[in-house]
């Protein structure tokens, strides 16, 4: 396996699956979080229908991230999940309520408000829990041998609460700009009004976390200020795209704010990856320490290289089938 570094390829595939998940489930979780603030029940119907045909596929990227970790970096899987035990449970509970709300809400009459809350609450919970995971990743994990050795609530600190809030704000912005793209009339107006506030919140949290991170993780400080200087390209790009979101909103562009928000997310994400590279279980294990057997990585890689392009093709096709504005009264229910 000297010709090419399988573990490196796998790290890139997993990184790709995670950013796909963040961008795609991010906007539909965001739509869920905006649910309580929607102008009326018709607007909620439209909001839900705008993501109903695609949410299931979006969430599948999360499962791919999990299964791919198990296949390529089992050590990450077997340390991260026990470390985040309670957080994972909360995230899953959130995803369950949210997922079934898609079907149940349209069947409900008197209990519809309950499913509105299940959809919104589940989205809040899942987004927050995922943000906490990001924070705990910056914090690092206590290990002993090849197993997690910390306590049940090590992941819950003021810093991770802040990253949790940060991801919630980010997803909400994604959801809001998605709605600008997919809706029209008063619903779109409402989303236009909301987006600048969410953008402001994202930037504020972004600034707080940036200042806070060096004190949580000295190695990150080192990396940003001493070792690799051109890492600064990522925050600069993020700010550039944030500006694009803002100017897109001001000029009433319908598609640009959503695209720019995604780009903003991607820049931040790659900046974060670079900060930690090549550690996958900070502060002790690199991606090469955590890798599975080369035969297993290769066996799975062959399938991935063949199937992932096909998945991307038919996923793109389904988005194309459901292109255009969602109007009041659409759906199969």
């Amino acid at each position: 396996m000297e010709i090419f570094d399988l573990s490196m390829i796998w790290a890139m595939i997993i990184a790709f699956a995670v950013i796909m998940y963040v961008l795609m489930d991010g906007f539909d979780l965001g739509v869920g979080m905006l649910f309580p603030f929607a102008p009326d029940e018709d607007a909620r119907d439209v909001m839900m229908n705008s993501v109903a045909p695609v949410w299931d596929g979006n969430e599948t990227w999360l499962v791919l991230g999990g299964a791919g970790l198990l296949g390529a970096f089992p050590l990450v899987y077997s340390i991260l999940l026990p470390a985040l035990y309670i957080g994972v449970f909360l995230m899953l509970a959130g995803l369950i309520f949210r997922g079934v709300a898609f079907e149940f809400r349209f069947k409900a009459k008197s209990s519809r408000y309950l499913w509105n809350w299940a959809f919104a609450g589940g989205s809040f919970l899942a987004a927050f829990a995922q943000g906490v995971v990001v924070g705990s990743y910056i914090q690092g994990y206590e290990t002993e041998g090849l197993a997690y050795a910390g306590g049940a609530f090590d992941w819950l600190t003021p810093f991770t609460v802040m990253t949790g809030i940060g991801l919630m704000a980010g997803y909400a912005l994604l959801g809001c700009t998605w709605l600008i793209m997919k809706t029209e009339g008063y619903i779109q107006e409402w989303a236009y009004g909301l987006a600048p506030w969410l953008l402001g919140a994202v930037l504020a949290v972004f600034a707080i976390i940036s200042i806070w991170t060096p004190s949580v993780d000295p190695a990150a400080f080192e990396r940003w200020f001493a070792v690799i200087r051109w890492i600064w390209i990522f925050p600069v790009l993020a700010l550039f795209f944030a500006f694009q979101v803002w100017s897109g909103l001001r000029k009433r562009k319908e598609v640009l704010p959503f695209i720019a928000t995604m780009a903003m997310f991607a820049s931040t994400y790659f900046g974060l990856l670079w900060t930690r590279w090549p550690y996958v279980i900070p502060p002790n294990f690199t991606l090469w320490d955590a890798a599975s057997a080369p035969e297993s990585q290769l066996f799975l890689l062959l399938g991935m290289l063949f199937v992932i392009p096909i998945i991307l093709a038919y996923t793109a096709w389904t988005y194309w089938v459901f292109r255009g504005k969602v109007r009041v009264g659409e759906g199969y229910h």
Binding site: E41, P53, L62, F104, I311, V321
Partner: protein, 467 residues
């Protein structure tokens, strides 16, 4: 009281997996049924098939959503509660689960959106294609997950080095000795489940005189299917049993309640296996029959539980009774199938109320049979997680405390209880609405509040359209 994280994790996994299993076992069969209806509709242009498909798609959507969300829990459970096992088996397990995601889950998810929401957005042929892809996805999913599960029962194609499994042959590991039997047994069980649910619901409509024409067609299709599949399942089960006897003799001994290795072993109809005294109480038995079934020889030797030490025995009573529940219900299904055939000859079975009532009641039996079957095979593996190579105790997460395991166990029970009762309630509503008034969809869209079946008096006119 000391909380045992191992026991609580086992209970939790059993709970989550059982709860999850009832959804795919239904959706695998139903997805194929829907694809078949869509194909008939595409080929004949007869609106009956499209109406049936539209109706069952609604049921499918609710059940599938519950299956998806409970399935996501499963995929994380390996890591949270069984991290040592995940780490040790990752070289094989990881690729299996990943292949399931990329070849099945994405397929199902993407094309389900088109199946549910795309009827008026894509050409008819493409919609049919989407239905077929969803059905195919359910099978591919079952393929990978059963390969992974079967490997835990009959591990092959691997070697254990320093506590970690390394794959030496992918074909041997995937097509491990028990895989073909399990896969066939599960696939047929899924079709039977779909067929019994559809026939039970159709029978219920016929009893109430609703949509006679359409439901009669659905019922007839299902009864033919059951007639072929129910006896076939018994044959597959027999082969599976012989395979288990070869590879997991202790499990078969528990299924038979057989404590001592002997020849000419009787078949126990009733017994109370007592693990403490290592014997049965209150036996009612048919002489030599167990030997005949298992070895196809009246005096064949059947291994007993005493071949292994008492602490390596599975929970005998659970395995013994689970097996009897499964087989009993299977026999009941075969009886139902032949009753249907007799009635088809002598008179019109859709006018035989007792038979229709019976079918209605039978619609829950496949679920119970499937759960009982899984309990037999999974409990029968105890105390092994990977048979003969790794025990449950070796596989559990080391940092897990009893309190954490209890918290999440109660959490899942609470969440699932809420979801399940809501799901059942809404399924009942879908069923009560039935197939009447295809225009209901547009009616609903104009007004968020659902109308109370505005055209419920118009069955007759739809009948004419449908025939």
């Amino acid at each position: 009281m000391e909380l045992d994280p191992l026991l609580l994790s086992r209970i939790q996994f059993a709970f989550v997996v059982s709860f999850h299993a009832i959804f795919p076992v239904f959706t695998i069969g139903l997805a194929s049924f829907i694809a078949f209806l869509e194909a008939l509709s595409f080929k004949t242009g007869n609106p009956v098939w499209e109406r049936l498909s539209k109706f069952w798609v609604q049921v499918f959507a609710v059940v599938f959503a519950m299956g998806v969300v409970s399935g996501i829990v499963m995929s994380f459970q390996f890591g949270t509660n069984w991290s040592n096992y995940s780490y040790a088996a990752a070289n094989f397990l990881g690729p299996m689960l990943s292949y399931e995601v990329i070849t099945a889950f994405f397929l199902e998810a993407a094309f389900l959106g088109v199946l549910l929401f795309g009827r008026n957005r894509v050409p008819k042929g493409v919609h049919l294609f989407a239905a077929c892809m969803v059905a195919l996805g359910t099978f591919i999913s079952a393929f990978w997950i059963l390969a992974a599960n079967s490997w835990m029962h009959t591990p092959a194609g691997v070697e254990l080095r320093d506590g970690v499994f390394f794959v030496t042959s992918w074909t041997e590991a995937i097509f491990n000795p028990s895989f073909p039997y399990r896969f066939a047994h599960m696939a047929v069980a899924s079709f039977l489940t779909g067929a019994f649910v559809v026939s039970g619901v159709s029978a219920w409509y016929l009893l109430r005189g609703r949509e006679i024409e359409v439901n009669r067609k659905a019922l007839s299709m299902c009864l033919w299917l059951i007639l072929i599949l129910a006896p076939t399942q018994a044959v597959i089960g027999d082969f599976h049993g012989i395979n288990t006897l070869e590879h997991q003799p202790t499990k078969v001994a528990a299924m038979e309640g057989n404590w001592e290795t002997a020849s000419g072993v009787p078949l126990l109809l009733f017994a109370w296996p007592d693990q403490e005294s290592q014997s049965n109480r209150f036996e009612i038995a048919i002489p030599k029959l167990a030997s005949l079934i298992l070895t196809h020889d009246l005096n064949g030797e059947v291994p007993g539980l005493n071949e292994v030490a008492a602490e390596e025995q599975p929970p005998v009573a659970i395995v013994f009774w689970g097996f009897r529940v499964m087989v009993g219900l299977g026999l009941l299904m075969i009886a139902t199938a032949f009753t249907g055939l007799l009635l088809r000859h002598k008179q019109r079975y859709w006018q035989t109320p007792w038979f229709l009532q019976g079918l209605r009641l039978m619609s829950v039996t496949p679920f119970i049979a499937v759960l009982a079957g899984w309990i037999v095979t999974e409990s029968g593996r105890a105390p092994w997680l990977v048979y003969g190579l790794m025990t449950h105790a070796q596989g559990v997460t080391p940092s897990l405390t009893g309190g954490m395991a209890l918290f999440t166990l109660l959490g899942y029970i609470l969440v699932y209880a809420m979801i399940f009762s809501a799901g059942l309630y809404y399924l009942m509503r879908v069923l009560q609405d039935g197939l009447e008034v295809p225009e209901r969809v547009t009616e609903l869209d104009d007004d968020v509040h659902r109308p109370a079946r505005p055209f419920s008096g118009s069955d007759v006119s739809f009948e004419q359209k449908g025939s």
